[in-house]
Symmetry: C2
Subunit: 79 residues, 2 copies
């Protein structure tokens, strides 16, 4: 079993209300000087080895299902 991670984040030009809420909550808790953006992390267990074809398949899956590419960007990382 190998692992591939897909990180999905709101694009920089997109407002991120979840991140804004977390940033505000941190400040109220006394954590200052931190600015947060919130995204998603998908840990994908792959049967067998992580070949270039598997990575291409996962990139395809990320575009079709894991990320909304209108408002989100993603990266695929083999771990």
């Amino acid at each position: 079993m190998s692992r591939v991670v897909v990180n999905v984040m709101p694009k920089p030009e997109i407002l991120d209300p979840q991140g804004k809420a977390v940033t505000g909550a941190l400040q109220r808790l006394g954590f200052h000087g931190l600015s947060v953006r919130q995204g998603k992390r998908f840990e994908i267990e792959v049967d067998g080895e992580v070949t270039d074809e598997v990575l291409a398949e996962i990139r395809d899956a990320a575009e079709k299902l894991l990320a909304n590419t209108v408002i989100e960007s993603f990266e695929v990382v083999a771990e």
Copy 2:
């Protein structure tokens, strides 16, 4: 500005309905042999340098606010 990332994932012994739904959807789309767990990724911009104190502060913030440590584990990564 420096960046620290906090990854929050459901603990292995905890059911992950979101991940299960994504795994099922991928199979229906024709992506086979992939098993997904879904978590959160927080990208934190820090004013100034990432010192050991800043990392300790962010670890504290993760425990108090970003992760529910009853059901989730987290890791702090300086990028």
